[in-house]
C-alpha cells in the first residue's frame, strides 16, 4: 500500500508546485521573463500568513479553523499588491531593455525580498500555531491514509486553479491576457491596455503564490526564509515540465513533478529527490524544450 500513500502525498505536494508554477507561467506568458522574485513572494505568503494568523488569534478568544479564512484574505491581498509593486518598480522600466536586464532585476528583487524576510523574522525556523488545522483523516485502500488537511489542500488548490482557468478562458480580461501573451503591439492596436493586463497578471500570480505559501506553512507547520528558493525552483521546473506560458501545463507539470518526486524519494532515496527533479528538468529541456503541453515556437531568421 506504500504506492497509494506515496501517490496521495505526491499529489498534495504537486498541488503546491502547481499553484506556484501558475505565477511563473503567467508572467512568462505575457512578459517572456523568468520572474525569479516569484518564489520569494510565495515565501512572504508563508510569513505574512503566520503574522496575520497570530493577529487574528489574538483578537478572537476561541481559536478555530475558521480563523484561517480572514488571514488568507489578508495574505492574498498583500502579496498580490506586492507583486504589482514589484512589476511597476523593477520590471516595467525594463520592458524594452533586452533580455539580460530584466533577469538581473528579477534576481535583485529576489535578494531584497529574501533579505527583508531574514532580517524581519530571523534566520531560524518559524512555526505555525498548533491545533489550528483540522486533524484526523481517513483510511483508504488498507493502510494508506488521507488526512483532512490533505483533502482541504487539494480542494482549495483545485478550486483556485479551476477559477483561474475559467477566468482566463471566459472573461474579457482573460481573453485580453491571452492576446497580450501572443503579441503586445497588436493587442494595443486592438484597444487592450497592455500595462493594465500585465498588472492584472502580477496581481493574480503572486496572489495565488501567497496563498500557496500560507497553505505550505500550515501543512508542514514550520519553514524558514529559504522556502522561496527551494519551492520556487521546483515550481519553475513544474512550469517548464508542462510547457512554460501554458496554464493547464503548469497544473499538469506541478502534479507530475510532485508525484515523481515523492515516488523517487520513497523508492530510491530521499536524499536524492531534488536531484531527480533537476535531472527531469534537464532531460525535458534537452529533448522537448517546449514541455509537455507547449507549442513549438518556430525560429525566425
Amino acid at each position: 500500500m506504500q504506492f497509494i500513500q506515496q501517490m496521495i502525498n505526491g499529489i498534495t505536494i504537486g498541488a503546491f508546485y502547481a499553484l506556484v508554477a501558475l505565477g511563473y507561467t503567467m508572467v512568462y506568458g505575457v512578459l517572456k521573463l523568468i520572474n525569479f522574485a516569484h518564489g520569494d513572494l510565495f515565501m512572504w505568503g508563508a510569513y505574512l500568513g503566520l503574522t496575520s494568523l497570530n493577529v487574528v488569534l489574538g483578537l478572537v478568544v476561541q481559536g478555530s479553523a475558521w480563523c484561517i479564512l480572514p488571514a488568507v484574505v489578508v495574505v492574498m491581498t498583500t502579496v498580490a499588491l506586492a507583486g504589482v509593486l514589484v512589476e511597476r518598480v523593477a520590471y516595467r522600466p525594463l520592458r524594452t531593455a533586452g533580455r539580460l536586464a530584466p533577469v538581473i532585476s528579477a534576481l535583485g528583487v529576489a535578494f531584497i525580498l529574501q533579505s527583508l524576510a531574514r532580517n524581519i523574522y530571523g534566520a531560524s525556523y518559524k512555526t505555525y500555531p498548533n491545533g489550528i488545522t483540522p486533524a484526523g483523516g481517513f483510511s483508504i485502500a488498507g493502510s494508506a491514509r488521507v488526512s483532512v488537511m490533505q483533502i482541504i489542500v487539494l480542494v482549495v488548490s483545485f478550486l483556485l486553479m479551476g477559477a483561474l482557468y475559467l477566468f482566463i478562458q471566459r472573461t474579457r480580461i482573460g481573453t485580453a491576457m491571452r492576446a497580450v501573451s501572443l503579441n503586445h503591439d497588436v493587442s494595443r492596436l486592438m484597444g487592450i491596455d497592455v500595462n493594465r493586463i500585465i498588472a492584472v497578471v502580477f496581481l493574480i500570480g503572486p496572489g495565488l503564490g501567497g496563498v500557496a505559501g500560507m497553505i505550505v506553512g500550515l501543512y508542514y507547520g514550520s519553514f524558514d526564509f529559504t522556502l522561496g528558493w527551494t519551492y520556487g525552483l521546483k515550481a519553475f521546473i513544474a512550469a517548464i515540465l508542462g510547457g512554460i506560458g501554458n496554464i493547464p501545463g503548469a497544473m499538469l507539470g506541478g502534479m507530475l513533478l510532485g508525484i515523481i518526486e515523492t515516488l523517487g524519494s520513497g523508492y530510491i532515496s530521499p536524499q536524492w529527490k531534488d536531484v531527480i527533479a533537476y535531472v527531469i528538468l534537464i532531460v525535458i529541456l534537452i529533448f522537448r524544450p517546449t514541455g509537455l503541453l507547449g507549442e513549438r515556437v518556430a525560429e525566425k531568421v
Binding site: 523593477a90 533577469v103 534576481l107 534537464i282
Partner: protein, 335 residues
C-alpha cells in the same frame, strides 16, 4: 564637463601597456602597508575577479547565460582537496589537473545543452549547478565528506616554503590573475574571440558566415569552466577547508552579477563588478545583515539607470544606446 571628457579621451589614448604596468605595480605595492584583514579582502577581490573573468568568457564574450558557474569553482576546489588528501599531491601541482577536471566537466555538461538559448540555457545551468552541489552534499562515492566538506588541505609550497600569511597568497593570486587577464585580453582580439562576439550578436548570421557555432560555444564553456576550476584550487589552497556551499546558487548569482553589472563584454567591467558585489559588502561588515538587500537594490537600480553596466565595452554600449527599437526576444517569438 567638456574638459573632463578631453582629459579622459587623452588618458584613453595613452599606450595601454603603460596603464597595465602601472596597475600591476600598484597591485604589488598596495597590500604592503595593510593589515592582514585588508590583505585577505584584497585576496578575495582577486579571487572573484579571476572567477568573474572566467565567467566573462561565457557570458560576456559568447553571450551564453550561465547561472551555475560556481559548480566548476567547487569542482576545482574538490579536485585539489581530493588529490592532496588521498594522493599527497602538492597543492600547486594539482592546479593543472583541477583545470582539466573542471574543463572536462564543463564539456560533459554543456555538450548536450548547447542548442538551448536564453532562458532555457539559464535554467539548465542552474539545474546542473544544483545537481553538482547536491551530489557533493550527499557525499557521492563517499569521498566528498558530505555537508561538512573536506578539511586539512596542505598549504601550497613554493621554493620549499609553505605559504601561510595572507600576503603570500595574495601574490600567488596576483600572479595567476595577471596571466588570466593577459590571456583573456589576447582571446578578445583573437579569431575565436571575434567568433564569440559574432555568435553573441547574431548566431544565425555567424553560422551563415561559416562559424561553427557549436564548437565556438563549447570552447567558451570549456575554457570558462577550466578557469573557474583554477580559481577553486587556489581557494582550497588558501582556506584549507572547503564545503559544498562553494557551489551554491548564490555564488553563481554573485558571479553572474559581477560580469553583468560591471558591463557585459568588458574586462574593466569585471573589476568594477567585483568591487561592487564582493569587496564593498565585505568591507561593510556591520551592514552584513542587509548586504543582500543592498545588492538587490543596486541590481534593480543599475538595470533601470544603466543597463549596459558601469564600464561597458564600447561595442555593447553602442548596441544598447544606439538602437532604441532593437527587437527583444518577446518580439522575435511574436513575429
Amino acid at each position: 564637463m567638456a574638459t573632463m571628457e578631453n582629459t579622459w579621451a587623452r588618458l584613453r589614448k595613452m599606450n595601454s601597456l603603460w596603464w597595465q604596468i602601472g596597475l600591476i605595480v600598484l597591485a604589488v605595492v598596495l597590500p604592503l602597508p595593510m593589515s592582514d584583514y585588508y590583505r585577505s579582502v584584497l585576496w578575495r577581490t582577486g579571487l572573484y575577479i579571476m572567477l568573474g573573468l572566467s565567467l566573462h568568457i561565457i557570458v560576456g564574450y559568447a553571450g551564453l547565460f550561465q547561472l551555475g558557474h560556481a559548480a566548476f569553482y567547487g569542482l576545482g576546489a574538490y579536485t585539489c582537496a581530493l588529490l592532496n588528501l588521498h594522493f599527497n599531491v602538492p597543492t600547486l601541482l594539482t592546479l593543472p589537473i583541477c583545470v582539466l577536471v573542471a574543463a572536462f566537466f564543463g564539456f560533459l555538461i554543456t555538450r548536450p545543452i548547447l542548442h538551448l538559448r536564453g532562458d532555457y540555457l539559464c535554467i539548465v545551468t542552474i539545474a546542473f549547478g544544483e545537481v553538482v552541489r547536491l551530489a557533493l552534499v550527499n557525499n557521492i562515492f563517499g569521498i566528498t565528506g558530505g555537508a561538512n566538506g573536506l578539511s586539512g588541505i596542505a598549504r601550497p609550497v613554493l621554493f620549499g616554503m609553505a605559504l601561510r600569511a595572507p600576503i603570500y597568497h595574495y601574490y600567488l593570486m596576483l600572479f595567476f590573475l595577471v596571466i588570466t587577464i593577459f590571456a583573456v585580453q589576447r582571446l578578445e582580439n583573437s579569431r575565436l574571440g571575434r567568433a564569440w562576439m559574432y555568435v553573441r550578436e547574431d548566431e544565425v548570421a555567424a553560422e551563415a558566415m561559416g562559424i561553427d557555432t557549436t564548437r565556438v560555444k563549447l570552447l567558451a564553456f570549456v575554457l570558462g569552466s577550466g578557469w573557474a576550476g583554477l580559481a577553486g584550487a587556489l581557494y582550497a589552497g588558501r582556506v584549507t577547508v572547503i564545503s559544498p556551499d562553494q557551489a551554491k546558487f548564490m555564488e553563481s548569482v554573485i558571479l553572474f552579477c559581477v560580469v553583468v553589472l560591471g558591463g557585459t563584454g568588458s574586462i574593466p567591467g569585471v573589476f568594477v563588478g567585483t568591487l561592487g558585489m564582493v569587496t564593498l559588502p565585505e568591507l561593510s561588515r556591520p551592514l552584513k545583515a542587509w548586504r543582500d538587500a543592498w545588492l538587490g537594490v543596486a541590481m534593480v537600480g543599475m538595470m533601470i539607470a544603466r543597463p549596459e553596466g558601469l564600464w561597458p565595452s564600447r561595442r555593447v554600449r553602442m548596441g544598447l544606446r544606439g538602437e532604441q527599437n532593437e527587437p527583444t526576444l518577446a518580439h522575435a517569438i511574436d513575429e
